[in-house]
């Protein structure tokens, strides 16, 4: 039963998240952390961190990790299947007929608004997660330094994440 819930939860996440792995985070947070209470805000943050510093797409990594926390390796399997399946089916359909949709006006304007929703959702996710992650002045300093480094776009994000972990070891 839990496995089916995992599968359908991640199926929904896979179907409704536009903009890649990080865009899935608001949906995963809403389903897994807030509604189902399967993992805590803190664990969710750790899952994102681990997803970022390990190989592979972020979306899959977060799904695999959450699935594992809920129901071991089988949980990982069902979460991964759920998150991949919707876009796989859509891709197959598009691969067959994509010339028709691409330039269509309705498709373009729907896409524009969905992007707006995505920006609002993703920024909100950062805000919702901040009380659990930026707990004191030291956390605030790490946050600001990391933000500056991401914005400079000179380093691989995975490296910045690992370095902030090392800074955490020094400061805490």
């Amino acid at each position: 039963m839990i496995l089916m819930t995992l599968f359908f939860t991640f199926f929904k996440v896979g179907l409704f998240s536009f903009g890649g792995g990080l865009a899935m985070l608001p949906l995963i947070q809403n389903e897994i952390v807030i509604k189902l209470n399967w993992i805590s805000q803190g664990e969710f943050l750790d899952a994102i961190a681990i997803a970022q510093v390990t190989p592979g797409p972020i979306a899959l990594n977060v799904a695999t990790y959450s699935g594992y926390r809920v129901y071991g390796v089988l949980g990982s399997l069902f979460a991964t299947l759920g998150v991949v399946l919707p876009s796989f089916l859509i891709c197959l359909m598009l691969a067959v007929m994509f010339q028709k949709v691409r330039g269509h006006h309705a498709y373009q304007s729907v896409l524009e608004i969905i992007k707006l929703v995505a920006v609002a959702l993703i920024a909100s996710t950062a805000i919702i997660l901040s009380p659990n992650s930026i707990v004191d002045l030291k956390g605030m300093l790490i946050f600001l330094a990391a933000l500056g480094l991401f914005a400079s776009e000179r380093f691989n994000p995975a490296i910045i994440i690992i370095c902030s972990g090392l800074v955490g070891l020094l400061l805490y």
Binding site: L60, I90, A146
Partner: protein, 181 residues
């Protein structure tokens, strides 16, 4: 191309790239467009614009298109399996150990440092997405409305996306009707 070769190409790309979709896509381009010449540049750019307008993982969706192009539906399945397998193996292993070492004080301090950086990463990602859009006043107002609906009223994200789709279709219908007049 043999099935196993197709599988291992996607497996290697996913296994050796840190940082998710935006890091993997350039590596895929490098491999399939520049190195092996299996996909033409123009075609790859079309895949890129498509996957950014679709739900799901960028890397997996792009793999599906490339796999389909090279070997039909079977190729698509093989490409997806190849891209998914590394995450699955690595994360299952890490989760297994993390469950045991997660309470360790050193690990906890490490993650105390990582969490603020993750929030910065998500915020910065929202910013890069916003930067790529063509802004006008209407869109800014909509952004604030969606922001309030989610943050203050906790409307389900899926409901918000469906509202977005409805608005988009309505707007398009309106513009096309005006154009016909």
């Amino acid at each position: 191309m043999r099935n196993i070769s197709l599988f291992s190409q996607f497996f290697k790309i996913a296994f050796f790239t840190l940082g998710g979709g935006y890091a993997i896509l350039p590596v895929m381009r490098n491999h399939f467009v520049i190195k092996t010449l299996l996909i033409e540049e123009e075609e790859f750019q079309e895949y890129l614009s498509l996957v950014q307008g679709m739900p799901g993982s960028l890397a997996v969706n792009c793999a599906t298109f490339i796999g389909y192009r090279l070997k039909g539906p079977k190729g698509a399945v093989i490409a997806v399996l190849g891209s998914v397998m590394p995450s699955f193996m690595v994360i299952s292993t890490i989760s297994y150990f993390f469950a045991k070492i997660g309470e360790n004080p050193v690990v906890m301090r490490f993650f105390m440092g990582i969490r603020p950086a993750v929030v910065a990463l998500i915020l910065y990602f929202a910013f890069t997405m916003a930067r790529k859009m063509n802004w006008n006043l209407t869109k800014a107002v909509f952004l604030i409305i969606f922001f309030t609906l989610f943050l203050l009223f906790r409307i389900n994200p899926i409901v918000l996306i469906l509202i977005g789709v409805t608005f988009g279709l309505g707007y398009s219908w309106y513009v096309l009707r005006e154009a016909k007049k």
